[in-house]
């Protein structure tokens, strides 16, 4: 058996050049740039000659034109999609949190909701489209409802688990000062449930994001990124179609990697509830 310090030095990474270190630290963007460069060369040098495969520069031009061009096609589509997403997600968040917090604090309510939840979990949100369009007609309401019905399950389960894990003695402290029911919810139950609710919010947002795009593609209603990429495909504006796809990926990434980590840093991390 070697002494600890000897093993320690053995574990140190071997020295490498500056370039290797730089590559390692920035591997994600570098890989993307490399792939785009290869793609650009394949198309630019005519090695791939297919109208269904535009060059990255053509896609970038479409993106540019879609936001700053005369028709702002992609800007309008993005705004419409985000509007539906936020509206649906906000409704789902309010309703599912209220239900989940209630169920978490009251076993009878949890038991009453349990069969509905169990049946709903395996259901993809987009199955609501044929059902609801029968009642509401194809329109904005169906798309927003699809978002709600896709996102509510994780939000509900997160709120339920969160409300169940509230420390009993924190509630004792609140009770001893005569805190009202509403104060207890706002000052104790919601903040301590946030430990479970924040990851659930992230999952729910992922579901909602997929649902809004799928619903737009299926319903082809109004403006929206899903509508635009499908319409671009119909008109064989392939560059705009890819621009839309890339935009969907980038927006999803922003929500996932910037919005939620920020939210977490300002709450749970700051309070020392997660490391």
């Amino acid at each position: 058996m070697q002494p600890a310090h000897a093993r320690g030095t053995a574990c140190e990474p071997p020295r490498r050049g500056r370039l290797a270190g730089f590559v390692r630290r920035h591997s994600n963007p570098l890989i993307l740039i490399a792939l785009l460069a290869i793609w650009q060369m394949l198309v630019g040098f005519g090695l791939v000659h297919n109208p269904a495969v535009p060059s990255p520069t053509a896609i970038a031009h479409s993106l540019w034109k879609g936001f700053l061009g005369p028709h702002h096609i992609l800007a309008i589509a993005t705004a419409a999609t985000l509007g539906r997403l936020i509206l649906g997600f906000a409704i789902a968040l309010l309703a599912a949190s209220a239900l989940g917090l209630l169920a978490g604090r009251n076993d009878d309510i949890a038991a009453a909701l349990n069969p509905l939840v169990a049946l709903w979990i395996p259901l993809p949100g987009i199955v609501t489209i044929p059902v609801l369009s029968l009642w509401l007609g194809v329109g904005q309401a169906v798309i927003v409802c699809t978002v709600i019905f896709s996102a509510w399950i994780p939000l509900y389960l997160g709120a339920l688990q969160g409300a169940r894990s509230v420390a009993a003695r924190q509630l004792w402290v609140a009770r001893s000062y005569g805190a009202t029911r509403w104060s207890t919810v706002c000052h104790i139950i919601v903040p301590s449930a946030l430990v479970q609710m924040l990851p659930a919010l992230r999952v729910g947002m992922g579901y909602a994001w997929r649902a809004v795009i799928a619903a737009e593609i299926i319903t082809q209603h109004g403006e929206g990124l899903g509508v635009t990429i499908f319409a671009a495909r119909q008109f064989f504006d392939v560059a705009t179609m890819y621009a839309g796809v890339i935009l969907i990926a980038l927006l999803g990434l922003t929500i996932e990697k910037i919005l939620f980590p920020q939210l977490e840093r300002r709450t749970l991390k700051r309070w020392g509830l997660v490391v």
């Binding site: 924190q170 000062y177 005569g178 903040p191 309070w271 020392g272």
Partner: protein, 288 residues
């Protein structure tokens, strides 16, 4: 039982949990504010397991303004008794009177401090201390802040007002919890082994600070501990619990002058007497 009282100040006066009035103590004995008569607590598990007797048959009295310590080995039901005084646990049998009326639920007259602090991690130090005052809805924002800031100073938390509890040490956290409870100026401070989770030095300083605060405050302290030395340093009266089945062995008055030093020979003598008293009531099985 030997019911005896010491005439001299700085001695140890005992009485066997009965209604014998306290004599020649140098302390003005206040009226009885809490009285337990044959108090009993049984927990019945939901899952069909047999019921657990937490408090068997406990009788004692707590007088206004006295620093009362409930002393006993772990598992003797002293914390459960404290929770019943707080109104957090229901009484299973016997009587527990608060100002002559049965305890009916918690109230702002009885503030509680726990061993593991039970702070609100989403609130800053000042936010935690303001919590009780906010919930009581009796004071305006400016007064709540002023009061909370007073107790920040009082507990030595100045400079940490805007810190979150998770960034602070155990001793600081317990100072926050004590400040939060004192800030509402409750009639009773219920403290459940508040220093048991702290290191020796921190505990020593907190005992000294609490002793000073208790002297200034017009509050009745009910303090649960299993630490004999801690009990003697803080208490005007020590109510000694036996191990299960829990009973009150004795109610002892401590009249040593304050501040008290752990190495004061008079304190050590009381320590010895208390240990032998507890030893006599310890179960025969040495493993338990």
């Amino acid at each position: 039982m030997n019911a005896r009282t010491h005439e001299t100040e700085g001695g140890l006066g005992t009485m066997d949990g009965s209604v014998t009035p306290v004599q020649e103590t140098g302390l003005a004995a206040g009226p009885i504010v809490v009285e337990a008569r044959n108090l009993r607590k049984v927990f019945t598990p939901q899952d069909g397991n047999p019921p657990v007797v937490a408090v068997e048959d406990v009788s004692f009295q707590i007088r206004r303004g006295e620093f009362t310590v409930l002393l006993g080995p772990s598992g003797c039901g002293k914390s459960t008794t404290l929770y019943m005084i707080g109104g957090f646990e229901k009484v299973s049998g016997g009587e527990l009177m608060l100002h002559g009326k049965p305890v009916a639920g918690p109230g702002p007259d009885r503030g509680i401090v726990f061993q593991d602090f039970v702070l609100f991690p989403w609130r800053t130090v000042l936010g935690n201390i303001m919590f009780g005052l906010e919930m009581m809805r009796r004071f305006d924002r400016a007064e709540i802040r002023a009061r909370a800031e007073h107790y920040v100073q009082h507990l030595g938390l100045a400079g940490f007002e805007n810190a979150y509890p998770s960034t602070l040490s155990g001793g600081m956290k317990q100072r926050i919890a004590i400040a939060r409870t004192l800030a509402t100026e409750p009639e009773f401070m219920l403290m459940d082994e508040p220093f048991a989770a702290l290191d020796a030095q921190t505990r020593d300083r907190l005992i000294a600070d609490l002793s000073r605060i208790a002297g200034e405050q017009n509050t009745t302290f009910v303090f649960v501990t299993h630490d004999v030395r801690e009990a003697i340093r803080l208490a005007d009266r020590i109510i000694v619990f036996s191990p299960r089945p829990s009973r009150v062995v004795q109610s002892i008055q401590v009249t040593l002058p304050r501040p008290r030093d752990s190495y004061d020979p008079r304190l050590l003598e009381i320590d010895r007497e208390l240990r032998s008293l507890i030893g006599r009531h310890a179960p025969d099985d040495p493993a338990s």
